[in-house]
């Protein structure tokens, strides 16, 4: 006899995604690599030659509060790649196996399916941020003399910024997956947009347009500025032919990213609701 399982919708969808992906090798590997490469980046930090004298010593990168900036910047790249690609894959594998179609046929509503993917990227971003927090805390505690929890977390909301950054990458990646529907195409566009297309676009605009500081608000640049290369803060002081600061202030970056986030998610939703599956 039928007796519908009564569970909270969110919990039901998370459980469903877990059942779908817990045994998926690609997702397992991407997440494993994230967990391995993230701390491994620190090792490369120790290989940096002596820094110019006007910069702080590299030892400070492993101490509070600079550890948050340094680790965050390393995580910026790692999250962009591994978590972003995982987010594309979460959707495109369901398209290529036609299981998205079957999920709807079996009775999931389009809204429920969309929500399940959204919950997935939120959870992945939250786990990545928790890992960032734990890693930063452990490394900082090892390298900083004296134990001061207040000083340890005096980091300009670094963990929240990291989370927002992850969410921005993942929702951008998921949007591309909704647009292109094919893993190869979506991953290719995702990676080339972030590291080639947008920087090139900005470069050409900065070359030609006088008042070009608005290019800092481009979506992926705003996202990157949530967790910038720490020394770039000092680069702002270096005179150059570009008469604006390289980086967005945190507040500006956060505001821009939240707006883009809303844009990515609504565009994905609009596309998903409108198209045939």
């Amino acid at each position: 006899m039928k007796s519908p399982v009564k569970e909270k919708l969110m919990f039901r969808l998370i459980k469903l995604e877990w059942t779908k992906f817990r045994k998926n090798t690609v997702i397992q590997l991407l997440i494993l690599f994230f967990f391995l490469f993230f701390p491994a980046c620190l090792y490369f930090g120790t290989l940096i030659p002596e820094l110019p004298s006007f910069l702080p010593s590299k030892e400070s990168f492993f101490q509070f509060p600079d550890i948050w900036d340094y680790l965050g910047y390393a995580g910026n790249w790692i999250a962009f790649f591994f978590i972003g690609v995982a987010s594309v894959y979460l959707l495109t594998i369901e398209v290529s196996n036609k299981t998205m179609r079957q999920s709807i046929i079996n009775g999931l509503t389009r809204n429920e399916f969309f929500l399940s993917k959204l919950l997935s990227i939120i959870i992945i971003s939250a786990i990545a941020s928790a890992f960032y927090a734990v890693l930063g805390l452990i490394i900082g505690l090892i390298h900083t003399e004296g134990f001061d929890l207040v000083a340890a977390f005096d980091n300009d909301w670094a963990i929240a910024r990291f989370f927002l950054m992850c969410l921005s990458y993942t929702s951008f990646a998921l949007m591309l997956a909704y647009i292109f529907r094919k893993s190869g195409l979506a991953v290719f566009f995702y990676i080339s947009y972030v590291i080639i297309i947008e920087p090139l676009l900005r470069y050409f605009i900065i070359e030609r347009v006088e008042e070009a500081s608005f290019t800092r608000y481009f979506p992926m640049n705003a996202c990157e500025d949530l967790m910038p290369l720490p020394v770039m803060r000092y680069a702002n002081a270096i005179p150059d032919n570009i008469d604006f600061a390289f980086l967005l202030e945190y507040k500006e970056a956060v505001t821009a990213t939240i707006i883009y986030l809303a844009l990515f998610i609504s565009l994905s939703y609009f596309l998903f609701k409108k198209r045939d599956i």
């Binding site: 059942t19 299981t99 079957q102 709807i104």
Partner: protein
């Protein structure tokens, strides 16, 4: 009080679907009642899968309307329908149990025991193998098992025997007949007549996105007799046949006369009568028209 036994399970009203300028479906209307085993019959590309895609909510109709269960289930109607569309769609890296578990969660069904279902489709021995290691027949059978989760009132199969070997076809057909005998409403799309004829109680014939005929299989299957005759004097034979009241249609093809006659015509009497008119038949074949020819006739 509504008649529960005549309740329309599915009502399709003037459904249309355009892909650019191509009209995949052109104002198709169809009603499926409770307990019917409805075969949707049509050549490849006639709009069968498009129709099923729309009524299952994955394709957007360009026009028209449809309603399930008289609208009594709202947006949840799919929870009461088990369905396969085109191919069996599962997670290739998961085994049968995990794949069925996903369907169970979506269908909000409590019962986690899939033993009976896997027995029904004879997959119990391979339940712990990954889906990607299955043969096409096994994949199709797993899909059939999945449609039965939660014991839905309606099951939909789209070309259930497509691409299977004779052994697989016979296994799938037996399973379908077994399912149909449980009193469910079954909708089955197929381009194979024999399949519809064997399994279905009703048939809807579709071509170029249009409904050509619908009704019980017996009524679509006409009772006419089909005759082939040959004689040395073809003209005389033609004249003789035209004078016979029971013969409806006469055609000459490569020296053989083909005609359709109503079922009260007796071929032996016809032969004797021809002989008495001085016509000697060198060839006489009579057979009841099969659905196959009817189908070709209708879809021509």
């Amino acid at each position: 009080m509504p008649n529960l036994f005549k309740m329309p399970v599915l009502q399709i009203d003037n459904l249309s679907k355009n892909y650019g300028r191509l009209k995949a479906l052109n104002k198709l209307s169809l009603t499926v009642e409770k307990g019917q085993i409805m075969g949707i019959l049509g050549p490849n590309g006639s709009g069968k899968t498009t129709t099923l895609g729309i009524i299952l909510g994955i394709l957007k109709a360009s026009g028209g309307d449809y309603s399930w269960f008289d609208g009594t289930m709202g947006h949840n109607y799919r929870l009461n329908i088990g369905s396969i569309l085109e191919t069996p769609n599962f997670y290739p890296y998961l085994d049968a149990d995990d794949n069925l578990e996903i369907v169970r969660q979506i269908k909000k069904v409590d019962d986690r025991n899939f033993d009976d279902l896997l027995d029904l489709v004879k997959l119990s021995g391979r339940r712990k193998s990954k889906f990607k290691t299955y043969s096409l027949g096994m994949k199709q059978r797993l899909a059939i098992a999945a449609t039965m989760i939660g014991d839905p009132d309606v099951v939909i199969f789209d070309e259930p025997t497509n691409g299977l070997d004779p052994q697989g076809i016979s296994e799938v057909r037996n399973t379908l007949t077994e399912i149909a005998s449980r009193g469910k409403t079954v909708i089955m799309a197929s381009h194979i007549l024999a399949e519809v004829e064997k399994i279905c109680s009703h048939v809807a014939i579709i071509k170029n996105g249009k409904l050509l005929a619908t009704g019980p299989v017996g009524s679509i299957l006409s009772s006419d007799i089909f005759l082939e005759l040959k004689s040395d004097d073809t003209d005389k034979l033609m004249g003789f046949l035209r004078s016979n009241q029971s013969i409806k249609k006469i055609e000459l093809k490569d020296g053989v006369i083909e005609c359709t006659a109503s079922e009260n015509l007796n071929p032996a009497e016809l032969n004797a009568s021809a002989f008495s008119h001085g016509i000697q038949l060198s060839h006489l074949v009579s057979r009841k028209r099969k659905l196959e020819e009817e189908f070709l006739e209708i879809t021509r």
